[in-house]
């Protein structure tokens, strides 16, 4: 789960919303069924089951690779056996908001690569696009098959109160983590089967089937057969998300291909099979834009396919997600999402953004410089938590150094308040203890509509009082439940 910042900050002194308990200790309705079940279990159950789960993950190979590490290079993402629970009512509202946002994202991307009405209307400053490397000139004037840009989207949400869910960031490029969502549920059902008979939880396991259907619905004009050939393009077994690539290909019944398996022939992209070269109709690529086509982008790339962009533009293949969708992940663009949603849907956004100061604006810059010690400052093009300042945990010296960088290039930064993020209990040696979480629901887009899997991936900061939910920095995951009505 490399993509996504996960740079969630909070200070322990801030009062925060606990999703399981009210301040007086009463269990909230969402967790009533779970808590009743848990109280009836023998002590030590969670501990024993936690160890079982780890052995299970090792055996099944649900691991992620760490770059540069030798020998024990395959690590497990810690799994916490306490579920994160969302009620049916909360989910209804959330999914309306997510659907609205994803619809707007696709309309926005189409507009950015065509007439740029939003810029003409004066609702988005043109300077955000000028010189922005995430905006690909190769996509200008081209409409992907079915008009879909973001076939798979991950919307990162944080929560600050009973009904306060905010969007922390949009992942329109190549959101990862869905395999953990699926395996976490499998693991929970294997460990606590009777729990699922007590509490009705909405199903997630048909995600791969829905993904396959959604991708097949976006076949390119050149497709003539009766079932489109779908392939998952992976950088290979040393990629940190390889497990997920293989998992999804396997579950979809699709081929898992590498760049070296593909070539352009006869106006199509074909894969080298034991029977000869076979055309591919839809490619679910898990390599970045930059590595997709050495003829068009990075000439040193060995991960992509030479000439695939020409085939794409000629209607010979569908690439999911479309190249150039990364522009929507830009943090300066993010700060305009409320306007973007309103511009394309004609409605106010259902899900708010985290308040964001654009340092390119003089007033905002002045405020940010005055309040650096309380803010989180991020690079607009950055991801994965690089090049950022977390005010409350930084020394005065670090803050001063960052202020200098900020003054030198204000338009390269945005700032956000440190949020008092919600907590959900995890299982620790001392019993249940609250930890901060976020949520990444996964959304599929096809010409047939928008399909949101109930729940998503909950990432949890395992260290007390912290912080960062990134798997590479001590974050773990939880099974995420949406209760059935």
């Amino acid at each position: 789960m490399g993509s996504g910042s996960g740079e969630l900050m909070t200070t322990p002194s801030l009062p925060c919303f606990d999703e399981m308990r009210e301040p007086d200790g009463t269990v909230r309705p969402a967790y009533a069924g779970y808590r009743a079940w848990l109280d009836a279990q023998a002590p030590g159950l969670l501990k024993r089951k936690g160890l079982e789960a780890e052995a299970f993950f090792r055996r099944t190979g649900i691991t992620f690779n760490v770059y540069g590490a030798t020998d024990g290079e395959e690590r497990l993402i810690p799994f916490d056996p306490v579920p994160r629970i969302i009620t049916a009512g909360q989910w209804r509202k959330l999914s309306r908001g997510i659907e609205q946002r994803v619809r707007a994202l696709n309309a926005f991307l189409h507009d950015l690569y065509h007439r740029q009405e939003i810029v003409r209307a004066g609702r988005l400053p043109e300077r955000l696009l000028q010189g922005n490397l995430a905006w690909l000139p190769q996509m200008a004037g081209f409409t992907p098959p079915g008009g879909v840009y973001t076939h798979i989207v991950g919307i990162d949400l944080v929560r600050t109160g009973e009904d306060e869910f905010l969007v922390l960031e949009d992942n329109a490029r190549t959101p990862s983590g869905v395999s953990y969502m699926l395996e976490n549920r499998e693991t929970m059902m294997a460990m606590f089967p009777e729990l699922f008979t007590r509490v009705r939880v909405r199903e997630v396991s048909d995600y791969p089937r829905r993904l396959a259907r959604s991708l097949a619905a976006c076949a390119p004009p050149a497709f003539t057969g009766d079932k489109p050939v779908v392939a998952v393009l992976t950088p290979g077994i040393y990629n940190s998300a390889y497990f997920e690539h293989a998992f999804l290909a396997d579950q979809m019944g699709a081929e898992l291909v590498e760049g070296s398996d593909l070539k352009v022939t006869g106006g199509r992209v074909a894969m080298r099979t034991t029977r000869g070269w076979q055309p591919v109709d839809v490619i679910y690529r898990r390599v970045d834009d930059d590595y997709l086509d050495p003829l068009t982008f990075n000439p040193d790339s060995a991960l992509g396919v030479a000439g695939i962009m020409d085939v794409y533009r000629a209607g010979g293949i569908t690439i999911a997600n479309a190249p150039g969708t990364g522009i929507a992940d830009d943090k300066a663009i993010y700060s305009f999402m409320p306007e973007i949603v309103e511009f394309y849907t004609g409605e106010p956004p259902i899900l708010p953004n985290v308040p964001t100061w654009r340092c390119s604006e003089p007033d905002a810059l002045a405020y940010v410089l005055d309040n650096l010690a309380e803010l989180v400052v991020k690079e607009v093009h950055g991801s994965g938590g690089y090049g950022m300042l977390i005010g409350p945990t930084s020394s005065r010296k670090e803050i001063a150094a960052f202020a200098a960088k900020l003054r030198a290039r204000p338009d390269n930064y945005i700032a956000q308040p440190t949020l008092s993020l919600s907590t959900v209990p995890i299982f620790t040696r001392a019993g249940l203890a609250p930890r901060h979480v976020d949520l990444r629901p996964f959304v599929l887009v096809s010409p047939n509509g928008i399909d949101i899997t109930p729940g998503g991936l909950t990432r949890v900061a395992l260290k007390k009082g912290s912080l960062v939910v990134n798997s590479s920095q001590g974050g773990g995951t939880k099974d995420s439940w949406v209760l059935d009505d």
């Binding site: 055996r59 099944t60 190979g61 070296s260 080298r272 034991t274």
Partner: protein
């Protein structure tokens, strides 16, 4: 299926087969060495290294000093030996990850578990006391993977490429054992019927897990022709050359049927199989056991190369 996946599954099963056969060879060598004086034991271990093609690599590591613990640690787990059993299991697992979408969860878990177990088993040096347990572990892992394969895999091209890898490798391994030990089986060079001969012959059988089957079929009568015939021509014995080629023919025939075309590899394999079927042990000995085995190994390798080309294993 992808050519790269065919390559991955082919080598995955070659390595698993080779790891298992190597364990048997070590077991036979160890047993033999136990009953001999140190000079003869050393000779026995040297022949194990030659059979595995590791004598030069071993000499580079340990010089001329050929002792049991050095040899079996080198062959089983030495990090400087890229052809060690541990390295083979590791490569097999890497290949399994690569072709993860083509194998069942059961097969993947069996391979992954093998790797996890053996990594633990081989974490510290193997002593003579521990050797038997260690070899048992290697063999059990191989059996587990094969069991998962037989019990859960779809009988499609993936399954048959796995079979092709297995039986080409097994034929190669049996032929190599014969190649190194053929002089033991040559009547002209042995004082027939001496107890040493009996031990040597039995050891050849033991290297391919055939001692009990042979005794059962031949009522305990040990004779070199019978043994050579058993290992080369007896289709009932799962490690004989004839058995491997019959299975190979089945695997290749499936591909020809499923894909709707024959390949040059089919022709070479058919010719080799036909020749094997037409031979008697008498003609083999007349023509020369050593020559026969050399020719067989060369052709076996040729089939492997041709399959990799015909089915586009690599670009």
């Amino acid at each position: 299926m992808l050519g790269r996946s065919a390559n991955g599954i082919f080598w995955m099963f070659r390595y698993l087969e080779r790891a298992e056969n190597t364990a048997r060879l070590i077991e036979a060598g160890f047993r033999m060495a136990l009953t001999r004086d140190s000079g003869a034991a050393s000779e026995e271990w040297r022949s194990v290294l030659i059979t595995l093609g590791l004598h030069r690599a071993y000499a580079a590591r340990h010089g001329e000093d050929v002792t049991g613990p050095h040899v079996f640690n080198f062959v089983l787990r030495d990090r400087d030996n890229p052809a060690s059993v541990m390295a083979m299991i590791e490569t097999a697992r890497t290949n399994a990850r690569m072709v993860r979408t083509g194998i069942t969860r059961e097969v993947w878990e069996a391979v992954n578990e093998s790797w996890m177990n053996l990594r633990e088993v081989f974490a510290r040096p193997v002593t003579e006391t521990r050797l038997r347990d260690v070899l048992d572990a290697v063999r059990r892992q191989a059996i587990q993977v094969r069991g998962a394969m037989e019990g859960t895999m779809l009988r499609n091209d993936i399954y048959h490429f796995a079979g092709i890898g297995t039986f080409l490798e097994r034929a190669d391994n049996t032929a190599r054992i014969l190649d190194v030990k053929y002089y033991v089986l040559l009547p002209s060079l042995s004082a027939v019927g001496s107890s040493l001969d009996n031990v040597q012959w039995e050891n050849v059988l033991r290297s391919v897990a055939g001692e009990r089957a042979y005794r059962w079929l031949n009522a305990g009568q040990m004779d070199p022709r019978g043994i050579a015939s058993f290992l080369i021509l007896d289709e009932r014995f799962p490690r004989s050359l004839a058995f491997c080629y019959t299975r190979l023919a089945t695997n290749l025939a499936f591909l020809a049927r499923a894909y709707g075309f024959d390949t040059p590899a089919h022709a070479i394999q058919r010719a080799g199989h036909a020749e094997l079927a037409g031979l008697t042990i008498e003609t083999i000995f007349e023509q020369g056991l050593h020559e026969f085995i050399s020719d067989f190994l060369a052709r076996n390798n040729q089939i492997a190369q041709q399959i990799q080309r015909d089915y586009r294993f690599v670009e």
